[in-house]
């Protein structure tokens, strides 16, 4: 039996320990905010926080999630809670087009700002280049990160 915490609540899992966390979140917990884009750690659509660090849930097996604290997009902006500054900036910059990549982008950006509250362009490139946006919203993602961080665009 694998124990883990997802968005603050304790969960138990008894299925295939090799199953990626992504499919546990989506198929079992029905938390569909975390997206599938490649299944190979190449696109970042499935990004969540594992013990506070950004991780690709398609590359994180349930076995590896044992005892870990998971935060997903649903937990970043939970009901009754304040909107996360990254989400707020995202709205202000009207970042999303189709929106499919944006959960992953937002989780990645939120982790970046926790790590580096005042990122420069290089920090942003380094942190965000693993997250593909096929609609091409990179410019606004950069703007929104800077807005949330309060650094000059």
């Amino acid at each position: 039996m694998i124990q883990l915490k997802v968005n603050g609540s304790s969960k138990q899992f008894s299925g295939d320990p090799e199953m990626p966390l992504l499919w546990y979140l989506r198929d079992q917990l029905k938390m569909k905010g975390t997206k599938f884009g490649c299944g190979m750690g190449l696109c970042g659509a499935c990004t969540v926080h594992v013990d506070g660090k950004p991780a690709r849930s398609c590359q994180t097996s349930m076995k590896a999630a044992e005892g870990k604290t998971i935060l997903t997009i649903e937990g970043l902006y939970a009901k009754g809670k304040q909107e996360h500054p990254v989400q707020k900036a995202w709205k202000q910059c009207a970042v999303p087009q189709c929106g499919y990549c944006q959960s992953g982008q937002i989780m990645q950006a939120a982790a970046l700002l926790k790590d580096k509250p005042k990122p420069n362009d290089k920090d942003i490139d380094d942190a965000m280049q693993g997250n593909i946006c096929r609609c091409g919203t990179y410019q606004r993602i950069r703007q929104a990160i800077k807005l949330a961080a309060g650094v000059q665009a």
């Binding site: 499919w23 989506r26 970043l76 499919y100 944006q102 946006c133 091409g136």
Partner: protein
Amino acid sequence: MNRVEHVSRRGFLSQVFSAGSFILGAKLLPLDAVAATTVPSWQPGVFVGLSPSGIVTIVAHRSEMGTGVRTVLPMVIADEMEADWKRVKVEQAIGDAKYGSQNTDGSCSIRDFYDAIRQAGASAKLMLERSAAEQWKVPASECRASNHEVIHTSGKKLGYGALVALAAKQPVPKIEELTFKKESEYRYIGKDVPMIDLNDLVSGKGTFGMDAEVPGMVFASIERSPVYGGKYKSHDDTEARKVAGVTDIVVIPDFKPPHMFQALGGVAVIADSTWAAMQGRKKLKVQWEASPHASFDSDSYKKELSDKARLPQKVVRNVGDVDAEFGRAAKTIDAQYYVPHLSHAPMEPPAAVAEFKDGKVTAWTATQNPQAVQDAVSAALGIDKKDVICNVTLLGGGFGRKSKPDYVCEAAILSKKLGKPVKVAWSREEDIQFDYYHAVASMYMKAAVDGKGKPTAWLHRSVFPTIGSTFDPSAKYGQEFEMGMGWVDLPHDIPNHRAENGPADNHVRVGWMRAVANIYHAFAIHSFMDELAASAGRDPVEYLLDVLGKDRKVLIKPEGMAYWNNTMTQDKYPVDTARLRRVIELAAEKSGWANYKPSKGKALGIAAHRSFLTYVATVVEVEVDDRGQLKIPRVVFAVDAGKIMHPDRVKSQFEGASVFGTSIALHGEITAKNGRVQQSNYHNYQVARMNDAPYQTDVHIVKSDAPPAGVGEPGVPTVAPAICNAIFRATGKRIRELPIKKQLVNY
């Protein structure tokens, strides 16, 4: 005649509008067609309703894949209707021929529906004003609608909700009676209203096709023939069935040519979760018959196409006498260009849930074209089209891939066999290996030039497999729409001009991808134009304007076919060189072209192109370092798309096109060996990322009163040639084949 009429709350409308609502529908055909009595069954397609509680409901009949169309069309209605946007609810339409075309493709949503939606809004507004006048027993001229209420000159007011019953009895006004708002009166049009889905999209709440779920549904993962046309022979599922969670193995019959939007066929592993289905499929062993396409090899195919492009082919446009001029001219220049097969690779791979029950199919899917889902699924299952109910989710990108519903057919076929709802979610590998690829093209260009380097004759040969093969496997030449996409309509002032199209066989499925045939035509034309400028030693902007000639509307007359012009008349949407000139000048001005000092490895490049009735000029700045690393600090677009509804979403489409075009220029290439596509995921089919996408894209919109034109696609074609033209000026290296990939190493 007004296109607008009362509609009653029947059939599907009863689920959208509440009881007692006042509902108007607007017809979508052009007015002359509406007037003609030859369209007896023509019904309204745009619907707006007002409930007694004062809520306005507008049906969004187009698919949302990131353009904002689901917000913008209703927003225009609301504005003309003087409805308060906060009290407007948008309902997504299911697939239904009633709506007219729902195929969200071809950059035409605003263009095609603008008149109808304005008239719907303005009619509703006038009817509400008249209702209030009736209630108050005052002349209607004393009543004015404003922000969800009608106000009398005396100051008394009635909310929209209170007027529902009377409005429902008002005759629909004649079109001459309608007044449309002036620009200064707009509340929402031109004002960058936030997308209705914005909150959902930043909090993981939007429902995409990949997220659709119905009770009792099972998950399928499908093995398909790795070679197009390879038929199913046999399979061994012993190991697959041992995987925990796997419940069934189902053979999906092979498609029968033409492939159209049919399921390709294959063997499906059915399981109780996505993961189990995927694991089971890894253990499945399938034998395929040999396919006639098993020898397909991209290298030899490229050579075949390129050889053909060097020989005379079918003439598709002919002005003057190109050969005579070539014979006479003191100088001729030629070059050959190539663009490979490309994959759409939308962030959300194709996905659908379908449930077959009591002879009917209900589908929930990310589709650009729910009526094509109805057609394809009804054909696959032999049921009536009206028995296919297609619910449209949000689309995680489309780019043309999701106008082809083969994946929905798969889900429907499986559901019928299994008697339960089935979810088919493609992996990225399936997406890239079984796409309807953007067609490869080889293009040969030749020009005769005068003393100033200006072309006096221009020959453009293009050889590419046609999308027509989707519907007719024997089709080998381009279709009108492929020729009409920025090729046979080149408006430049060149006295002798010939276009020729050579035949090409098809060995994979090809299909529309964002900007379609414009991609390769624009790459060849605008690269070659730049080569001519360079050979003449002239400034590319000055040269382009010179070759464009004096301002005029060019009547396009291709050989042996009609000019496609995005299905619009040249009367309403002429090919206007003045508008092309204006965007070139604007892009040059905004990019600081005249004063820009190129240095080693650093320069600007330009390309200007008309597509989807929109005029676009793009200036790109590149920086190439000593090792051939390319950076794109800046892209400047100047855009004339006619009337604009939502400037911010127009800008975002061009920002996106800047990145999409960069992906094509830098990375995009699908190749096949022994009939199999060699790429499989984002590591070997790369797309632009944060660190190699243009750092900044500026979009300058020409203010225009011309009828609305396209926005979603026309930003794409200019990007690759402008990048390559900039690279030439920065490095002296001319890129004639895409993608650039490693071509700049040690330039």
